[in-house]
């Protein structure tokens, strides 16, 4: 019998950049097929071609043996394809069921039949154990639940082949496990899944076969049962990679950041951070561990100047900076790698060089009599692009075409170039591939060796443990532990994260939920006043 999906020789070029260079791919019925590859390897491009979002320059697609042309998502849907995008594509103002049936509403006479629609959605959710409240407003839902809505949306459109583009990048470990169960239930039902990820553990856990991409081409086809982590990584990166970091001893210097009795209140008055105190010395990495939503974002935003604090002091090398603007803080020596690289960290429409120079425009070397010297700026940007290995066509390309990891490198490059005394790194490697993680870790350690003070926030405990000299644990807005890293272990911190004492075995990180992300800007355009 013909394969569920067969792709031959897909080519996609963006100018001189070849995003897909003749990709072949075969996906059988009832299999979970992993697509692995570094950021910028061309995974999303291939998936978008399969869903009719982008048109390939060459190549053919067969579904169940029959040649198809997918000119639009509508074509793809009609051919039994469904896709859950890296960034969710839902209407925040609509309810769950309205989003799921959107464009295919059941009708009675001329009118949308809400009752039938809700029943159908509830039945579908039940069948695949994707529990959702069908009447909830999507904008109020957590990321994990929104993803379920996206999956249900594809299933409601009778997708036989489901494309999940980095679905776990935004999930907590528990949500990721739940997703794995859902994927297994779907293939047991005879569907096929294309599962894009760059997390090794996941791909080895749930897939049947793996196609590894590198620089736009397939670098390996593996059977999960007969491969190993090392083999996958080598195919992805082209060399062996190790995240076991050697942290050389660095003599710590003076106090750079000193935060005392800091409290932050939310818009509706409840405390996000209460009475937090911390110090970071020169040549030291201090890691903040916490389950998302426990106040670490607010703490960081208060230090960086993005959010007003309600009380306490923030001192940088002895100077109180609590009342200063973001710009003033940056001039005094604060660099900030924000968690949200796409909206806070970069200006999407602007080019790489414009993004790389953000905040540096006033530098002497870049201007003459108040004019920016474009040649110099470009040259500088070019050097950073090379040094930080950003995969981009050229320095003048807008950064909104970059994949997540490459965008992150742009932000990291810019912030580290500040030579600031304090570097705040918030989830510096989230959604970034393994090669880039290694790279960013190495850069952070280099900065530490140069005597910079680094405040690191990460949801990845292993990252905190690998990089930090000291680890703070934040729980419900309070800093509940301050441990030198040699006294910290995964078990001990795990217990503290969940509000335990640090002695007991870890308890489940129960109802601590990440807050839902801010509504997307696209919802606020003029067309929707």
């Amino acid at each position: 019998m013909a394969a569920a999906l067969e792709v031959r020789g897909i080519v996609k070029r963006y100018g001189a950049l070849v995003a897909n260079a003749g990709v072949d791919l075969v996906v059988e019925r009832g299999e979970i097929h992993g697509i692995m590859g570094e950021n910028g390897a061309g995974k999303s491009t291939l998936m978008n071609i399969l869903y009719g979002v982008t048109q390939p320059d060459a190549g053919e697609i067969r579904l169940g043996g029959a040649l198809v042309r997918l000119r639009s998502p509508l074509d793809a849907i009609r051919n039994g394809l469904g896709m859950v995008h890296q960034a969710f594509r839902l209407f925040d103002s609509l309810s769950v069921w309205e989003n799921i049936v959107f464009g295919r509403e059941p009708v009675r006479g001329w009118v949308v039949d809400g009752r039938t629609a809700r029943a159908a959605v509830a039945e579908l959710a039940e069948r695949f154990s994707l529990s959702v409240n069908v009447d909830a407003r999507v904008g109020d839902l957590s990321v994990g639940v929104r993803q379920r809505v996206e999956i249900l949306k594809a299933l409601y459109r009778e997708a036989r082949i489901l494309i999940l583009d980095e679905p776990t990048a935004v999930l907590t470990p528990r949500e990721a496990d739940a997703l794995a169960d859902v994927m297994r239930a779907l293939v047991a039902d005879g569907r096929s899944i294309l599962f894009v990820t760059h997390k090794l553990r996941e791909v080895l856990d749930v897939t049947d076969r793996i196609t590894v991409m590198r620089h736009g081409a397939v670098s390996a086809r593996l059977e999960t049962a007969r491969t190993s982590e090392q083999e996958v990584v080598r195919a992805m990166v082209g060399r062996a990679v190790s995240l076991d970091i050697q942290r050389p001893d660095v003599a710590t210097g003076d106090v750079v950041l000193e935060v005392d009795h800091l409290s932050v209140k939310m818009e509706h008055g409840h405390s996000a951070v209460s009475d937090a105190g911390l110090t970071v010395h020169a040549g030291e990495i201090v890691g903040i561990a916490g389950v998302a939503g426990n106040g670490q974002s607010e703490l960081i935003e208060a230090i960086a100047g993005l959010r007003r604090h309600a009380g306490g002091t923030i001192r940088l090398r002895g100077t109180e900076i609590g009342g200063l603007s973001v710009g003033a803080r940056r001039r005094l020596g604060v660099a900030y790698i924000p968690e949200d690289r796409a909206t806070v960290g970069t200006a999407g429409r602007a080019s790489a060089s414009e993004n790389l120079i953000l905040g540096f425009q006033r530098r002497r070397e870049f201007q003459r009599w108040g004019h920016l010297l474009h040649e110099r700026v470009l040259g500088w940007a070019q050097r950073l692009i090379v040094r930080y290995d950003v995969r981009i066509r050229d320095a003048q390309t807008p950064v909104d075409t970059l994949s997540g990891g490459n965008l992150q490198k742009v932000v990291v490059a810019r912030e580290l170039e500040h030579q600031a005394a304090l570097i705040i790194a918030e989830q510096p490697t989230r959604g970034v591939d393994i090669g880039a993680i290694e790279f960013i870790h190495r850069k952070l350690l280099e900065e530490r060796a140069r005597g910079r003070a680094i405040l690191l926030v990460s949801a990845e405990l292993s990252e905190i443990l690998a990089l930090s000299d000291r680890i703070l644990v934040i729980y419900e807005g309070r800093i509940v532990a301050n441990l030198p890293s040699r006294e910290a272990s995964e078990e001990r911190i795990g217990s503290l994260l969940a509000g335990g004492s640090g002695d007991a075995p870890p308890v489940e990180a129960g109802p601590l939920r990440a807050p839902s992300p801010a509504p997307s800007l696209s919802d606020a355009k003029l067309r929707d006043p």
Binding site: Y51, P73, R89, E98, F102, G114, S297, A518, R527, P529
Partner: protein, 341 residues
């Protein structure tokens, strides 16, 4: 939820919020604020202008607005589809001219005349759609140009002077007195309810509204977004021509020069209307409230003795105010929706 969707008519049910008791619901300032301002305005004028609070004022206010409301609905339909249609007032005026000219100079029967005018408006909307959607010129530019061109061509064809002499049956029908109000006003309400119904309750209408809100999400959900955008421009032209036909029926004549007076109130009404009933969204019920609010304001000022320039000041101010309000609403939504647990 499905009942709440009908919030535009059954206005006491707040959308996606816990149901409050009806009184608390009516006190919802965000949703009904404009209605209260309107009532205050009426009360204020009644105190200071003795002649204001009378049946005849209400008849004027209610009756005179049929064309303005239909034009505003045309603007709203375009905005909902994600497009700006600046040609609505010109299409209305040219439709009026064409009805009179074809019916008198060319002696076409009135029925055929009306059908021909509507068909021509559809063709004009399709042209706008082709230029904006297929070729990709922003609709605000397309319609600015095409509307001006249309007006100029019509003046060249029929002259720019006011013309009368249209079939008396059209006048009698449009101004037929039903329970104290002209038939035209019932026609506008019927059109409003029809639009509301299609947009809220039919799959095509929902696809239309949400494609306008976020084209990318709609496209990925399998909607033909280009078709929706085209539809918005075609429908707005169609509605504008209907407004023109009503205008001829109400005034008995075509007056090309009036066109410019309709455009600004239409946008003011559309944006002001998006601050009520369903704040943050262009909506049909909001259009009616906003237009009646605006005309109350202007009528009162005129009875106070201000004329001419005061219209421009009032409408211009209202448009700016409405856009400011919509921005504030969007902002407050963002900050209350952001980072809340």
């Amino acid at each position: 939820m499905s009942q709440n969707q009908s919030a535009e008519v059954a206005i006491a049910i707040p959308e996606s919020r816990p149901r409050l008791n009806p009184l608390a619901g009516l006190l919802d300032i965000e949703r009904f604020g404009l209605i209260y301002v309107w009532l205050l305005l009426i009360a204020g004028y009644s105190l200071f202008v003795p002649s204001f609070f009378s049946v005849s004022t209400f008849q004027i206010v209610l009756g005179s607005q049929a064309t303005q409301i239909v034009i505003t609905l045309a603007v709203v339909v375009a905005l909902l589809g994600g497009e700006f249609d600046l040609s609505v007032a010109n299409v209305m005026a040219v439709a009026a001219t064409a009805v009179v000219t074809l019916n008198t100079d060319y002696a076409w029967p009135i029925g055929w005349t009306i059908l021909a005018v509507i068909a021509a408006a559809l063709a004009f909307g399709a042209l706008n759609a082709f230029i904006s959607v297929r070729i990709g010129v922003p609709s605000i530019i397309t319609t600015l140009g095409s509307g001006t061109l249309l007006m100029g061509a019509a003046n060249g064809w029929a002259g720019s002077a006011p013309r009368a002499g249209v079939d008396q049956r059209l006048i009698d029908l449009v101004s037929l007195d039903v329970l104290g109000a002209p038939l035209a006003i019932y026609v506008t309400f019927a059109i409003g309810i029809g639009i509301y119904y299609v947009l809220e309750h039919t799959p095509a209408g929902r696809a239309f509204v949400f494609s306008g809100q976020n084209a990318e999400v709609a496209r990925l959900a399998g909607i033909r977004v280009a078709r929706m955008r085209s539809a918005s421009l075609i429908w707005s032209s169609l509605l504008s021509s209907v407004a023109g036909i009503l205008l001829v029926g109400i005034t008995g004549a075509s007056v090309p020069a009036v066109a410019s007076g309709y455009l600004l109130p239409a946008f003011a009404g559309a944006f002001l209307g998006s601050t009520v009933i369903r704040p943050g969204r262009f909506n049909v019920a909001g259009v009616f409230i906003a237009i009646y609010f605006l005309v109350t304001g202007v009528t009162g000022l005129q009875l106070l003795g201000y004329t001419g320039w005061v219209n421009d000041v009032f409408y211009g101010f209202s448009l700016v105010l409405a856009v400011v309000l919509t921005q504030l609403i969007a902002k407050s939504r963002r900050s209350s929706g952001a980072r809340a647990p």
